[in-house]
């Protein structure tokens, strides 16, 4: 693997842009260590399939290698990675052909008697799964700690609209959670 020029943006107290030359392996390895987990979580939240999520992460980093080798700009590597991964998730969702929302009444999986943290996470993930694709993408990106600007870039939405859309998406997530709680039969009623 060759070397390439990388444009890095540093804090304003220093020179805003510097040219550094690092082997592509080093750039990719560093970004993989820093962002693979977040990209995987994003993909898993969007696709609910560990294999597909792995594929998205792999595709994203393979594209990164091509991008860096071609000397492409990478001023905001995190934003770039999440944008590519978000597009990949959307491509795969379209490929699924039909999206089946999770419906509590149809879920026949046995549940544990006592709730714990894992249960709480599972409830939220199921609620995310029931959201519309755009809402799901917005909350999944927000969950990875992306800024509004980065979310806008990854989701292809005007930055000024992110706050409003995200607030609505979270409202719908809250409603889903409330609905799931209401759908659980009370122990005395069983």
């Amino acid at each position: 693997m060759g070397t390439t020029g990388l444009v890095a943006t540093l804090p304003s107290s220093r020179s805003p842009v510097v040219e550094v030359t690092r082997p592509v392996e080093g750039i990719v390895a560093g970004l993989f260590d820093g962002h693979a987990a977040g990209l995987y979580r994003l993909s898993l939240t969007m696709l609910h399939d560990p294999d597909q999520a792995q594929d998205v992460v792999q595709d994203t980093f393979l594209r990164l290698i091509t991008h860096v080798e071609a000397g492409g700009p990478l001023a905001n590597a995190r934003g770039w990675l999440y944008t590519v991964a978000a597009h990949a998730c959307r491509d795969r969702q379209r490929g699924l052909g039909r999206w089946l929302p999770w419906i509590a009444a149809l879920d026949r999986r046995p549940s544990r008697e006592s709730a714990d943290a894992a249960d709480g996470r599972a409830v939220v993930l199921r609620a995310i799964r029931a959201l519309a694709p755009r809402d799901r993408l917005l909350v999944a990106l927000r969950a990875q700690g992306l800024s509004y600007q980065e979310i806008a870039q990854a989701a292809g939405i005007q930055p000024a609209s992110i706050g409003r859309l995200l607030a609505r998406a979270l409202d719908r997530l809250q409603k889903e959670l409330d609905g799931q709680v209401a759908a659980i039969p009370h122990r005395d009623q069983r």
Partner: protein, 371 residues
């Protein structure tokens, strides 16, 4: 007191995106403080559920391995190939716009319902389907084949290793084919030819430097022809590849033809099955999903095997061009030729050879004959 904050403004404060330390109203107004707290709570639940789980080591290692394997200098690919979008520079904007219009009308519109992505499993599926597709006419294939291990043991040791095969199939008449193994000089060293039209069955082999040709008439079609066996084997192996995760996919050019290469480096076929695939590689034409290269290593009943197949040429001829000699094998000078009707009614050609060979041995008078 200032006005109450909107949901958007409260969300921005909860997300640290309000630009300042936050609107003081959010703390002064009990209603807004409660709403802000609710937003922080749902955001916190979201982050905790979907944003904090650590990447399992096994998943991380698997992805790193796949990326390492896909580094520069090595074949690179993912399980899915998608067209790479590159933004044109401003200088190219006008030309790009014109090209985009042409592409839209001549490519996008006619293919609006086509899928823009193709996965490794999908390519393998198409290839498997193409192997069994209905074709008409005479097909002549020339390919290199190498069988080792348990598959190589099925053929005489002298004939194992890498060899060139010429295969002629009449797709309009079942049981009409010729498959011969060729030496480097083009001489036939082993072969089989069945002609269901003439009811002939020919087998050829060489042993100890001598050629033996068995030609039978009034023969029933064989239960399973050699091309059908080969096709079934390849279909089985491709199906095993489909069931494996960790497929990588890349585009390549083979003899000027666009192809897809699907590769697996480890198979996740469940343990306990008699057939296991350890690694495999298939090259499939992009245009018509023909399998042009295939290599695999695995085991059958815990006995290892390898197979290596590479298509050299393929020719399709009209059915009317078929000649009797296309489905026959001619004897070479010095060959021993056995000819006659089949003596045991069977669709298994082995019985023909055995019975014809035995009948050629003169009976010994008075006592058992041994050689």
């Amino acid at each position: 007191m200032s006005r109450c904050l909107s949901d958007e403004e409260l969300q921005a404060i909860a997300d640290g995106e309000s630009g300042t330390a936050g609107d003081p109203h959010a703390t002064e107004c009990a209603s807004c403080a409660k709403r802000l707290e609710a937003r922080r709570r749902i955001t916190g639940r979201l982050v905790e559920a979907a944003g904090t789980a650590a990447l399992p080591d096994a998943v991380r290692d698997a992805m790193r391995a796949r990326l390492d394997a896909g580094g520069a200098g090595a074949p690179r690919g993912a399980t899915t190939l998608r067209p790479v979008r590159r933004a044109p520079g401003w200088a190219w904007a006008a030309g790009a716009a014109a090209a985009a219009a042409l592409v839209f009308f001549f490519v996008v519109v006619p293919g609006v319902d086509r899928r823009t992505t193709v996965s490794a499993a999908e390519i393998l599926g198409r290839s498997r389907t193409a192997l069994g597709a209905d074709v008409t006419g005479i097909e002549v294939l020339t390919y290199d084949l190498a069988l080792e291990g348990v598959l190589g043991d099925l053929i005489p040791r002298d004939h194992a290793g890498r060899f060139t095969v010429e295969e002629t199939i009449d797709h309009d008449r079942e049981g009409r084919y010729r498959i011969v193994k060729l030496a480097a000089n083009g001489q036939v060293v082993e072969g089989a030819a069945d002609d269901s039209l003439r009811q002939t069955r020919v087998r050829y082999l060489r042993a100890d430097g001598n050629g033996f040709l068995f030609r039978f008439t009034a023969a029933e079609p064989t239960a399973l022809s050699a091309p059908a066996l080969k096709r079934a084997l390849l279909q089985t192996l491709i199906t095993l590849m489909q069931t494996s995760s960790g497929q990588t996919l890349q585009e390549l050019q083979r003899d000027g033809e666009a192809c897809y290469q699907v590769e697996i480096r480890e198979s996740l076929v469940p343990a306990g099955l008699p057939f296991a695939l350890e690694r495999a590689r298939a090259v499939v034409t992009a245009a018509d999903s023909r399998l042009v290269e295939f290599s695999a290593a695995g085991s059958v009943a815990d006995r290892p095997f390898t197979i290596d197949f590479a298509l050299r040429s393929r020719e399709m001829r009209p059915a009317a061009s078929a000649q009797d000699s296309d489905f026959d094998i001619a004897p070479q000078p010095g060959d021993v030729v056995f000819e006659g009707n089949v003596t045991i009614a069977s669709s298994n050609p082995i019985w023909d050879i055995v019975s014809r060979s035995l009948s050629a041995i003169p009976p010994a008078p008075g006592r058992p004959h041994s050689r």
